[in-house]
């Protein structure tokens, strides 16, 4: 699929892009809209909070992949551009995971503070 775009125009300039058919792009939008309906729909179903989070994230990752692969042309780009995106996500997950581990260490000290008398009122100054 990646070859027919490498033609040249009448001035001898290369065609750099990879034009996708309108139909294909509209099809991607339809898939995205369908997944939006799915994610809203399942939010009405009673499930555990962890399951709900995982389902929402799964649908979001699929939608994001569609946007990145087709609207952002990663599917036809040099693979290095995809490596950059995936690496940024991977480091973000690492960042969140370590931060979570860290607060796990301190939560037993934080929780009594937030429950101490007057904690909420302190937040109310100025109201």
């Amino acid at each position: 699929m990646g070859d027919h775009s490498h033609g040249t125009d009448e001035h001898g300039h290369e065609h750099l892009g990879h034009p996708l058919s309108v139909r294909f792009l509209v099809g991607i939008l339809m898939a995205l809209l369908f997944l939006t309906v799915v994610t809203v729909g399942v939010s009405y179903i009673e499930m555990g909070r962890t399951v709900a989070l995982l389902v929402a994230l799964l649908v979001a990752v699929v939608k994001a992949s569609l946007v990145a692969l087709f609207f952002m042309h990663l599917r036809w780009d040099k693979p290095f551009n995809s490596v950059i995106l995936v690496a940024s996500m991977a480091f973000l997950i690492l960042f969140i995971a370590f931060a979570k581990l860290d607060t796990g260490e301190y939560m037993h000290e934080i929780t009594p503070m937030t429950e101490a008398p007057g904690y909420v009122e302190q937040g109310l100054k100025g109201n």
Partner: protein
Amino acid sequence: MSEHESHGDGHHAHHPHQAHHWDSMRQQFEAGKLGMWLFLATEVLLFGGLFCAYFIYRANYPELYEYGHHALDKVWGAINTVVLLVSSLTMALAVRASQVGNRKQLQAMLAITFLCGCGFMGIKAVEYKAKIDHGYLPGKLFNYAKTIEHEHEGHAHDGDHHDDHHGDGVAHAEGVFGAPAVSVVAPLEQTAQAQPAAPPSGLSASASRVAGDHAEHGHEDGDHGGHDGYLPVDGRPPNIHIFFSIYFMMTGLHGIHVLIGMAVIAWLLVVCRDGRFGPSYFTPVEIGGLYWHLVDLIWIFLFPLLYLI
């Protein structure tokens, strides 16, 4: 870097938009895109800080989200998602139009994308206004009295048990949003002391104080949200303002990005009139498109995380 090197034949006409330090238009195009992807990676990390805050608080105080997401309007959020997805399609079509050298279509698609951006910000403004009017503001701006009054109004409109919390000190709250019902038993003398001149609508001004009193007395440990002694005010966590801090910071930073994206599109609309974009040069459209798609991509995560769960 590619099989299509332009130098060597010695007769290649330089494209007017090829900077002299590039061997070929393709090299220039690929380098520009690589640079943009590196920038987008930093954008992911910029939002990443806020996503980190979201997940840390979600892990430690899940009840914030369980209660807070009911305060956001799913319908507006879903409409905005559709608006942004459609604008992503039109942006992709704009890039396509520039690739095939169709200037009219490029202009039309950029214009529709811009209008979708306006629509998104308009709906966001409606949502923000409702939050601001009812006191759902980030951090210390959060107005407990207003929000509770608002939730009780909604409760009254539901038409059940509005008077329960008078006299006997029992706030039988369902919350305006249809949050799970939780009964809070407030010791009579403290409720009375906390609202010496309370308006008939009841708990509003004093509810947060009641929460503090509860904590002091340690009633009802552990039956809510999985944190021992984490006591609800009227069925909602007393630190609910944290949810709105996260909501405003995440959607606010996203909104700023939408505005920047709209500015880029407006600029593209102006400069594309001279027909400079075509099959061999459309880097600005491509790169502006990448930015716009990233904004869409971030909203794809924000919408379910804030509005739905």
